[in-house]
């Protein structure tokens, strides 16, 4: 049964044979086999402690004769299975050839029932006021494996209900089932070992070490992995019940890591952002700073009108006016590393149609934390490289553009989402030229712009980003944008079709991808709808020599990535 070519071993789950990689954790093996082993403390991305005892199962192994080493064969002619007299925990059992487990026997059911009863002994009846209700493992397993009523007549434990562990995390000690996931997360992933248990027995309490706070930039992940409602997000606390929230797959635009996220919204309002598991990018984590990005979309600062010289118009009017200005020539295009691949492609098309003097991108940099925030705070610089918008890495300062304006070389500037006054071009200088501005929020560039196109944020439109690994990842619109504002692809497409005389501008990313398929060799055979939810690696070896500023981060090593790119190239 061992030593197959594909290096898989066979395990027997409820008397059915399944092939799994050797050393697979039995919780995962059962999941691969489509069976659920309930668990609280086990988390696929954390170390195993085995303290919740919920994943108890029956374990057996094929028997061998001690003296001869020959397998013992039973009357049916099969190797006899030696079942352990006591149940074992699945999370701390690794698959070995011929392992037998029972996930649904009488004993296992009894064990789960017993574990549930103990866990519920001191658990408060908080479900109506608990934010975890609806996504709570304790609720789910109580319904699946619990006894349905309580035999406990004594008083439940009283513990503190509102403890602030840090600026973003609130602890309710009564609800805690002591699974220690949060402790392990802080120690192993966030590398900020601040949590621990104090006291003994039913007095055990989760707490921060004296003088420490749970304030690292990954603290809210503890809230996500908390199987019960003990840790809650202060930001999301009591805002909305989770069963109302619609999850839309999206990509975090905080940095070039491209963290996979779920945007959770109800009726056009975003309530929270949670991580979406992608084992190639962010595992199951997201930085706290990426979770609050949605807050800027609902402000009064939003641009909501297409305007020409400050007076309202419609998109067609604005596009016509912009086209007239652009046709006059002497155009400089400033693109954005925050724009999607599709938008950058269209912008590139516009730039070549008007024979732009310069095309630049503005870089945004910060300190990388080696985990999920990289030094490059533009989510999509590589998209601009692939679409041919730029050929070298962007700079933070547009000094060259400023001097070109002063010398009169540039008469029209098309800025896509970048506030030029923030990157070295003075407002007085901008007043000398015609500015066409695409932007989602008001700023000084928008104020001096002759033509303004309001744009949507990443939460309101569909598109793709290419992250630091050259992984193409797509995001979908979670909430509608301001009334009357069309997707950026549509407004850019309209402008583009006026400039190069194409009859039908694209209405969505699908249309742009149909075009990019033929124009960009790396994108051939990709269409928007078929981009996998975990993204797809693009051959970026052509640009690997560029001095990208990202350092090491989770699942990304700049040196290693060259190799990966080489393999991608080879496979194509």
């Amino acid at each position: 049964m061992t030593g197959r070519d594909d290096n898989l071993i066979s395990v027997f789950i409820d008397e059915e044979e399944f092939l799994v990689p050797p050393g697979t954790n039995m919780v995962e093996a059962a999941r691969l086999a489509g069976k659920e082993i309930p668990h609280y403390c086990y988390h696929p991305k954390l170390s195993v402690t085995g303290n919740c005892r919920m994943c108890l199962m029956e374990l057996g192994m094929p028997l061998k004769d001690h003296s001869t080493g020959e397998p013992i064969i039973d009357r049916r002619g099969l190797q006899k299975i030696g079942w352990m007299p006591r149940p074992a925990i699945a999370c701390a059992t690794r698959a070995f050839p011929g392992i037998h487990i029972k996930t649904d026997s009488e004993l296992v059911r009894e064990c789960r029932n017993g574990v549930m009863e103990f866990l519920l002994v001191n658990h408060p009846l908080d479900c109506p006021i608990c934010d975890q209700a609806g996504e709570c493992s304790l609720q789910e397993y109580a319904a699946d494996y619990g006894r349905g009523y309580s035999r406990f007549v004594e008083n439940k434990n009283v513990k503190p209900k509102r403890t602030r562990l840090g600026p973003r995390v609130m602890l309710d000690d009564e609800r805690c089932i002591l699974c220690s996931r949060c402790i392990r997360f802080c120690k192993e992933i966030a590398k900020d070992d601040v949590l621990g248990f104090v006291d003994r027995g039913s007095y055990s309490t989760l707490t921060c070490f004296p003088g420490k706070d749970l304030q690292n930039n990954y603290s809210l992940n503890t809230v996500d992995i908390c199987p019960v409602g003990a840790l809650t997000s202060i930001d999301f606390r009591f805002k909305m019940r989770v069963w109302f929230l619609k999850e839309t797959p999206s990509i975090c635009a905080e940095s070039s890591v491209g963290v996979n996220t779920h945007i959770e919204s109800r009726e056009g309002k975003i309530y929270r952002i949670t991580p979406r598991r992608n084992d190639e990018v962010n595992d199951t984590w997201i930085p706290d700073s990426g979770r609050i990005l949605y807050k800027s979309i609902d402000t009064d600062e939003r641009l909501i009108h297409y305007t020409i010289d400050g007076s309202h118009t419609l998109v067609d009017g604005a596009a016509k006016e912009a086209a007239t200005l652009l046709r006059e020539g002497a155009v400089a295009v400033v693109g954005s590393g925050r724009a999607s691949v599709e938008e950058q492609y269209l912008l590139g098309k516009i730039a070549s149609a008007v024979k732009a003097i310069s095309v630049s991108l503005v870089s945004r940099t910060g300190d990388g934390d080696g985990l999920l925030v990289s030094a490059d705070r533009n989510p999509n610089v590589r998209g601009a490289l692939l679409t041919g918008l730029i050929t070298s890495l962007p700079h933070a300062n547009l000094g060259g553009l400023a001097s070109a304006i002063e010398s009169g070389e540039v008469r029209t500037i098309l800025s896509f989402g970048e506030d030029l006054t923030q990157c070295g071009v003075e407002k007085q200088l901008l007043e000398k030229v015609n500015v066409i501005y695409f932007g989602s929020h008001c700023n000084e560039t928008g104020e001096v712009a002759k033509v303004v196109f309001p744009t949507l944020t990443v939460f309101e439109k569909a598109g793709t980003f290419i992250n630091q690994q050259f992984r193409l990842q797509k995001f979908l619109p979670a909430v509608p944008g301001p009334q009357g504002v069309l997707p950026d692809i549509v407004s850019l497409g309209k402008l583009c079709s006026i400039l190069d005389g194409e009859a039908i501008p694209p209405t969505g990313p699908e249309g742009v991808w149909a075009e990019m398929n033929t124009e960009i060799p790396q994108f051939s055979a990709i269409d928007f709808e078929n981009i996998p939810i975990n993204g797809i690696l693009i051959d970026g070896s052509q640009w690997e020599h560029l001095p990208f500023i990202e350092g090491m981060s989770l699942h990304y090593d700049p040196d290693n990535n060259r190799q990966i790119m080489a393999e991608v190239t080879k496979s194509k």
Partner: protein
């Protein structure tokens, strides 16, 4: 043919006078005149509402005046015509019922949408919403018919709290504090 044509019999002399029919009708009227009345002079006289009647839904308070709703939003979820709208809120830490932690900031029921199904009462884990005996509502505008929290409490009044869950909880906390 699947039907048959019947010949209509000609009326006889007595029938042609219509008098027997009129007399029969008057007899019935006269008989009912002395029977027990089955109609009500609504709205001056109101019918007796039977037990378990489902009138308008209202919020109720417990005997101590605590608002029982904790804005779990289950009624909002279960409401078939989506008549209920809740905005949850937090009870501040220095309030009397701080241990309940959560209460509705806003609670609106659109009485024009409500179909009196009683699901909200059924689903409520805190026994905070009850369908009352009132059945007739009127207003001059649609906005007026969306009843806010204050009005729902005013109409709901106080209900006995047979479980006293939060009271027990507070008591347990105080006892624990006394024991150190």
């Amino acid at each position: 043919m699947a039907f048959k044509i019947l010949e209509r019999k000609p009326l006889n002399w007595a029938e042609r006078t219509y008098l027997p029919q009129i007399i029969t009708g008057l007899k019935i009227t006269l008989w009912n005149l002395f029977q027990k009345k089955v109609t009500l002079e609504y709205p001056d006289v109101r019918p007796v509402i039977p037990e378990g009647y489902r009138g308008i839904p209202t919020l109720v308070k417990d005997p101590k005046g605590r608002e029982k709703c904790v804005s779990c939003q289950l009624c909002e979820f279960v409401c078939p015509p989506k008549a209920i709208r809740i905005q949850p809120g937090e009870i501040p830490e220095d309030a009397d019922y701080a241990h309940v932690e959560k209460a509705p900031k806003q609670f609106d029921i659109d009485m024009l949408r409500c179909i009196y199904c009683g699901f909200c009462q059924e689903v409520c884990p805190e026994e905070a919403i009850f369908l009352q005996n009132d059945f007739s509502l009127s207003g001059y505008s649609r906005e007026e018919m969306v009843f806010p929290k204050a009005k729902l409490y005013e109409m709901g009044g106080t209900f006995p709290d047979q479980h006293n869950k939060w009271g027990k909880k507070q008591q347990a906390a105080e006892e624990a504090k006394a024991h150190g």
